[in-house]
Symmetry: C2
Subunit: 339 residues, 2 copies
């Protein structure tokens, strides 16, 4: 299939661009090689367990490049933006892992556990800065006004990210949550950045504003659908299939869509949830209770609707050529419709 | 004196601009009012002890506005950049306070002690983002190319900031430090942002690149001179005069210029330093030892040279009018030459 050809060209170009940008953390300055090394660890290039699995799937930069190509632009021009969104994603992972006190990420120890909280916070800040600097590289091939436009999109997205993270942290100790509290958090934490990827990708190609909006809706809906899917798998998923740790989201207390549905319903599941932490021994029983109360089918329906929304928006954007087909298959892969 | 007139016009305009930008953290979104409230606490506008002392002196935004005016521009146009540098400064304070485990800042509890590490990290990230967003407001009055130019200056500065902070943290457990390790840390942590203020201020006024470079040297040297001065006061200063806590930098183990001088010398002071923490009871004796070995006069000479460098660069930039005089008096005030 031609699919692999284009993505297989893009993936090494993304890694290469990321390495160029990350190298700026110790450019002309051997003093800060240690800062650079923490970044290469986070990016999955160095340290124990380095490699493909440690890198993640680079979904966000691929979305940027594919959207640029599918909008009729040259994807190589968008590489600085592709690097930027992946660095934003990784900066947020570094800080989220500290904030959530997570010990592992992609099967490896998180940065704060290996280098301490102080260095990890600062490395995240430096990576955030490199992401913004990377956007300025777009100037080589694009007019200033378009560069500023895309910078604005990315920075407003970062504000949404931090707002979503604020909500997530603040939900931790709240017992009064309901379904309405879900979307503002997810919009910021997951959907906004995917929406930025497709919007920026199309802007770089010089797409009309109507087309850009369709791509934006596609990215946002894809992000939401993916998150809801992830929420379902987090409770009812097969550990072997998802590659997630065996700790169910019910044990970690994650405020996922099915859980908030159950809390809003206020029946047996909600009463049990409010009693405190759920042990591994009780997970199956409580997951079944939530399923009986309709939590699973509610989330499945939401995921189905969002997926359709995403695919309709993609169709409306009239993506072109090989990249257009690739956007569709990447979405299907992300949403688990493909094995 | 006319001095007070211009600065007294600028200060409320700076606060006003800052409030406009910070308000974006909960614009159209009452869910994130708590995020906004953490920012207003950090900025000294809300919470116990709010007020002038809690705000800091707003030196950085004043430097931006005064440089714009002294370069022949309208300072009001530079307000978004002035807000940006102050937000960058405060974002770095929020994160530094976590990294250094500092409990108080400007006489009040630090944000992480009142709201937890997770929210404080994220609030810093959000403030960092707002700073970058603020720079985009420059577009209202300036051509895209100049806006991009100033954004680039600020973002490269942020990279310097995080590199300096990396060094500072990494020095904590090192026993092999010498004088050469001082400047790379200070250049990033203190000097770079002041240099960015004056460079950006002059660029906004459309100054020629030679003039901008003079202003940049002025800002950088001012920052270094200020830091060295601060280092001297941190060991030999009068607590009542400096307003600093009574904890001498010798007790906290700060890698200041006099200390690194003493370590490089390798005499009695260095031997004592390497033995471990210094108690309050021993501070006077050890400070005197360092003074005898030449640590104080060495630092004083450095501060004197840097101050001259700053003032020479300012002269070379040919600052105009009332604002020009103000830059001089602000520098003198900052360097403690004025009572």
């Amino acid at each position: 299939m031609s699919k692999d050809n284009l993505i297989e060209k893009m993936l090494p170009a993304i890694e290469n661009q990321l390495k160029i940008v990350v190298a700026r953390s110790c450019e002309n300055d051997d003093n800060t090689r240690g800062l650079h090394d923490m970044m290469t660890y986070q990016m999955g290039w160095s340290g124990e367990g380095a490699g493909l699995a440690a890198r993640g799937k680079r979904i966000r930069p691929l979305l940027v490049l594919l959207t640029t190509a599918a909008s009729g632009g040259e994807w190589e021009i968008a590489l600085p933006a592709a690097a930027a969104v992946e660095l934003i994603h990784n900066f947020s992972l570094i800080h989220d892992d500290i904030e959530d006190q997570s010990f592992t990420r992609r099967g490896r120890p998180t940065l704060w556990t290996t280098h301490g909280i102080a260095q990890a916070i600062n490395t995240g800040d430096a990576m955030f800065t490199l992401a913004h600097l990377s956007m300025l590289d777009l100037e080589a091939f694009l007019p200033s006004s378009i560069v500023l436009d895309t910078i604005g999109i990315l920075q407003r997205t970062c504000l949404e990210l931090t707002k979503g993270q604020y909500l997530d942290i603040s939900y931790e100790n709240r017992v009064d949550l309901s379904l309405a509290d879900y979307w503002p958090m997810i919009d910021g934490k997951t959907a906004a950045l995917l929406g930025a990827c497709t919007k920026i990708g199309s802007k770089i190609a010089g797409a009309e504003s109507q087309t850009s909006e369709h791509y934006f809706t596609f990215g946002i809906s894809l992000g939401k659908a993916f998150q809801v899917q992830d929420d379902i798998l987090g409770i009812w998923g097969d550990v072997a299939k998802t590659g997630k740790s065996s700790a169910s989201d019910l044990i970690t207390g994650k405020k996922s869509l099915p859980v908030l549905y159950g809390l809003e319903r206020g029946d047996a599941f909600a009463k049990r949830w409010l009693q405190g932490p759920i042990s591994a021994a009780k997970v199956y029983e409580i997951a079944t209770q939530l399923e009986v109360e309709g939590g699973k089918s509610f989330a499945q329906e939401a995921a189905f609707k969002l997926t359709n929304q995403a695919l309709n928006a993609l169709e409306a954007a009239k993506p072109r050529g090989e990249a257009g087909g690739m956007l569709l298959s990447l979405s299907e892969q992300l949403l688990g419709r493909q094995s």
